[in-house]
Amino acid sequence: MVASSANRPDWLSRWLLVGAAGALLFGVWRLASAPELPALYWLVAAALSLKAGSDRERALASR
């Protein structure tokens, strides 16, 4: 069976997921040292990236 173009994975969602995972890991790791502001910055970035990926996947899957 030949895969159609409609079956291609959405790479932007995947990159957003990779970015969110990296930012989460770095943010939690960075919380160990003061000041906490850089860690919080990366945690917010992770949350935004995860939300963007989740919304995009939901919207594309519903079509």
Binding site: P9, L31, A52
Partner: protein, 211 residues
């Protein structure tokens, strides 16, 4: 979910809350309510998945956080064995894994029998890239609670554990959906609000870093 949840609760919530005489009533009440949330959430998960997940994850975690907050300096007592604490962190990770994707309601047995074994063969195998993605996702979800144990300062440590646990659950839930998804071809019409906010946030960070 029950076994790692019980272990995590016992090692990191019940032990400090009930083993110290100085532990306050809110700490013990929080620990008891957390156990109740864990069991209630599991019971509700099958008939009402959304409510069960809310009680089982948010209720359990929220009540545990209340207990930790009420314990205060008691969490740093010498009674907390580092090995038990590390195993507790591992159990929290496994608990997050368990809640990552609750199985759908099972199909009727008769329907499966009618289908016959010949019709139940998989139409395709998971690509290698997707399997690697799943392994990486699970590794990240397990690494987050373990990383949180690096944080030793009171207050910030609690935040780190809460963020790590919430991050594990979110990563597994969203990541599984993204890895499995096979979207349509109309990708240009996907919503861009959060993507734009994310890019603006990164741009702001870069700007502040350069200044």
């Amino acid at each position: 979910m029950l076994l790692p949840g019980l272990y995590a609760w016992g090692a990191t919530v019940a032990w400090p809350a009930f083993s110290q005489r100085a532990a306050s009533l809110p700490a013990r009440a929080g620990a008891g309510a957390a156990l109740l949330g864990l069991i209630l959430g599991l019971g509700l998960a099958r008939p009402h998945p959304t409510l069960g997940r809310a009680v089982g994850v948010l209720g359990f975690l929220g009540c545990s956080a209340i207990a930790w907050g009420a314990l205060g300096s008691g969490l740093r007592g010498s009674g907390l064995d580092p090995v038990r604490a590390a195993l507790g962190a591992l159990a929290w990770g496994l608990f997050a894994l368990g809640w990552g994707g609750f199985p759908e309601r099972r199909q009727a047995l008769e329907e499966l029998e009618l289908a016959g074994p010949a019709h139940l063969t998989p139409r395709a195998r998971l690509p290698v890239g997707m399997r690697v993605g799943f392994v990486a996702l699970v590794t990240c979800a397990l690494a987050l609670p373990l990383l949180a144990w690096r944080v030793e300062r009171p207050g910030v440590a609690l935040l780190a554990h809460a963020v790590a646990l919430a991050g594990s659950v979110s990563l597994l839930t969203v990541g599984t959906r993204i890895l499995i998804a096979r979207p349509g071809s109309e990708q240009s019409r996907a919503p861009r609000l959060w993507l734009t906010l994310c890019l603006l946030w990164l741009a702001l960070g870069t700007l502040l870093w350069l200044l």
